[in-house]
Symmetry: D2
Subunit: 305 residues, 4 copies
């Protein structure tokens, strides 16, 4: 049975970080408070777990399972959607995680393209995604594109054409690239029960102008409330206000990029803004230096307070 069409994803979805303890082990105890923080302080109603922000590629399959379970458990009744990212380099592992996601009551699954062996054609990528999705046919399936990490430049439009013939549970895309020609073509082609979600936080306003149904990103963990204002301004056609908020977000990210931004630094900023103890990233990401952490937190407050 194909998934119900009454749960279209819209608005802001936070791509969650994975809490680790000081020894670098998964720290489930933070997840409850993390859900509290997102719902209460950032107004977030959807989460995307075990994605890039969640360092999923640095986790074992077993770790990803316990994390997915805990997120589903804690978010139950509090979030509208928990999308579990199940993409791995290995199809076997991805299928294993997809089956697991179905068992634990995830609201949807997503999969990234493998990136060590890169699919050479849209056809190869579609077949890979089909094999993943078919392991959990009752769950809405989302393709997660992020070429800056994967190096896979297959146009998303080519991936999604007639995709429901291969993947009846297909429900949308997390598009985390800068090619808005491709993005626009996806929006134009999108079916009413699909969600085309934009994933470059630093230029979400452009994605909205092009017709994005919503957004998935890491910075919504700590800037969700401001981005919600931006979306509201956009929806009421107050582009000047929307732009003002977007430029503030850009100012923070540009500052961070110049000083050396990565998922480890991002995680530290989230810890510092939220007060949650998310711990260090796992190697090969390096912990954020205390000096950099302080500079970023100051910048955050100077922009948003």
């Amino acid at each position: 049975m194909a998934p119900g069409d009454d749960r279209k994803v819209t608005g802001l979805v936070a791509a969650t970080f994975t809490p680790l303890d000081a020894q670098g082990e998964v720290n489930l105890s933070v997840i409850g408070p993390y859900v509290d923080y997102l719902t209460e302080k950032q107004g977030i109603k959807g989460i995307f777990v075990n994605g890039t922000t969640g360092e999923s590629m640095s986790l074992s399959v077993a770790e990803r399972k316990v994390l997915a379970e805990e997120w589903c458990l804690r978010a139950k009744g509090r979030m509208d959607y928990v999308i579990v990212h199940v993409g791995c380099m290995s199809l076997k592992d991805s299928q294993d995680l997809a089956r697991h996601a179905a068992k634990i009551g995830a609201d949807g699954i997503a999969a990234i393209s493998p990136s060590f062996f890169k699919p050479k054609t849209a056809e190869a990528l579609r077949r890979f995604l089909q094999e993943v999705a078919s392991a959990a046919p009752t769950l809405p399936f989302y393709y997660y594109q992020i070429p800056s990490f994967t190096g896979v430049n297959v146009p998303v439009k080519d991936v999604i054409e007639d995709i429901e013939k291969l993947i009846p549970s297909f429900r949308g895309v997390k598009f985390s690239g800068g090619d808005l020609l491709d993005f626009g073509q996806c929006v134009g082609y999108s079916q009413p029960h699909w969600s085309v979600l934009y994933g470059m936080d630093e230029q979400l306003l452009a994605g909205l102008a092009m017709g994005a149904n919503g957004a998935v990103g890491s910075t919504y963990n700590y800037m969700g409330c401001y981005v919600d204002e931006m979306i509201s301004a956009f929806e009421t056609k107050d582009l000047v206000k929307a732009r003002t908020i977007q430029f503030k977000i850009q100012e923070l990210l540009n500052y961070a990029i110049k000083l050396g931004f990565d998922t480890g630094v991002n995680k530290q900023l989230m810890s510092d803004v939220s007060g949650l103890h998310l711990g260090p990233p796992r190697l090969p990401l390096m912990p954020c230096s205390p000096d950099l952490a302080q500079l970023l937190l100051q910048k955050y407050h100077s922009i948003f307070d």
Copy 2:
């Protein structure tokens, strides 16, 4: 004396093709009718000559001069702005062209970064641009960024910071890249008498949402009238209509890209749509095959008629 501030560039600027005859020589006789076509059929009021679309890098300095003269002559009183691109690999040549542009009454000059030797820092690029601009200090100066051609990835924001201290005649940017974080920061930093012009025709709507003052591009030669409608829709906050037009433009360009789009193919499409005889491109660009030309013209008409 710095250039007057009363001539801020807005709206659509067509980056013109360079007419060649069958022997591959510059064909000035087409320029008069070309100006007629742009003004009468496409509603274009500004042109950017000898840019990428104009194959300037494939022209000699002498050819660029006679072309610039003819464009200025024919556009006089009919266009609001003729911006002459004077950027070359060689600073000497760029300065020569800048001085010439001042003599022939151009409304502004623009310069691209050299791309064989790439400036390694914003500082090196700023110094290059300063030397070019100072050869024609009375003309408004625009920096022309197009990283897909130059491979130069210096953030434009870093180039334009405090740039009037170095280049008093600085008046704006033609930003032809996809990094809308950088673009947004440029818009936010832009001075009231500057123009931040977006140069990726396939995603202009995103540029407008981010605050672009106008656009410079090659497709406005043959789609200017439709893009004008898109801009009007955007300005009246009819985003649905704006998006519909943008998606049509994307559909054409996406079709062309899949079949092999380049400046030579683009030039042929302009010839076929306009009826002007623009001739072949110069090597290393290859002439567009008749089959491809026919397919593109059909697609154009199927979308816009």
Copy 3:
């Protein structure tokens, strides 16, 4: 205790393919005959298992373990070295595989850099490798560099400087890149008990000239006997003969590259040359078409028979 220094790897090491059955499951039954073939027909005395050629990134950890066991079992007493590649995107998984390799009697382990999250500095990469190696401190450890797959461009020389202070079991490098400045600096820095192995089969002769101690590659599975002749010619200073053989190998590979060469096509060629049933690759690699397989086999025979 650090590993013994009496087992320096030299000569040709075949990077083995992973046999799959028609359903895409690991097919252990081929491994015995595979070892026979390599030793008897190709004169191979060392194997590198579960590497890129072995599609390790497309395998689950459990699959990699049973494969490593079977290779160690079948190669025992017949090969001089079985090096088990244990690198994964996840440090946890890599450590798990390293511990396992020690238990099953591997002669050494190797690890690639993670490539989804890319180490930003040599320091980050060294720390990752240290954590992997320390899980199997009695096994000789090799760093496996292959920037065309990983996108990690940290100079190998920067990785190996003073590396024994961090990794006492360090014994060498599989260098599968084209930067022979870096390679030469590694050879010059190499310690007597280290092996600097070159991994670009198409230009091994260049690696030998630069001082490689040996070679690891996929084509030695089916061209090992010819490459052995090339190495002998090089060692007896008959460069004309060595070059003649290298150019033949290049001719085959160049032909294959133009027709679309990847690990799936490579695997098919090995099946066809050896008569072993290695099966298809796993997605996202696609099976080699029968037509392409035939062309390559014909080319192989036309060159080497």
Copy 4:
């Protein structure tokens, strides 16, 4: 008439720097002493003028002409070959320079691919080169490949196949790339009257092993005498000695690269080693800082004295 076949280029060819005065103007007075230095101190018998090292792309056509004339005049009777590089972004300019080179008695001409508009196929590139070469049909013609600068990755083998049908004066290649599969195929295909010259100084030994007929490079300006020793060692099959010299050269270049090596820094090092006053580079290259110049000169002497 096609050029005589009795002047095959072999051995070391220095790619010369362009002397500028303090105002950044071409300084012809240094060229006589420069020829003296190369012949007397470095044992150089061939020069490649107005190439990448000579900053040709930063020079005007007129400057390139006076430079070519002076080099031909001063080198007459003292050098075996003066090859004048005539490649430009513009075919017109390249043809103009080719005709000029024939008039002033150059021994050969070379042309690089245009790199702003990049030829999309070998066919497009071949046609461009044909048009250049045909402007000076009596001069030996060489194709100059340097993908790190041009971004043009057309295999050289595809360019040179049956090239004499298009370019009867074709006599060889300056191959300045790292793809030794392509290089080897070029060597294997090369005709007896052609020269396949390698252009990556940091790994010339690899090029020699693959069968290079000689080398063209910038570092031979100040390390020619040492590289001659390396070539002699290679020719007498003393690979250990050849490698020792190659590693010294690599040590210097690696040191320079880490500190920021480019044509401007390279030029300063040449000035400092030779005592010639070559002046600064032209923008967008920046002058070498005195501190960096001193470090490099010290390193040079510490390695070679």
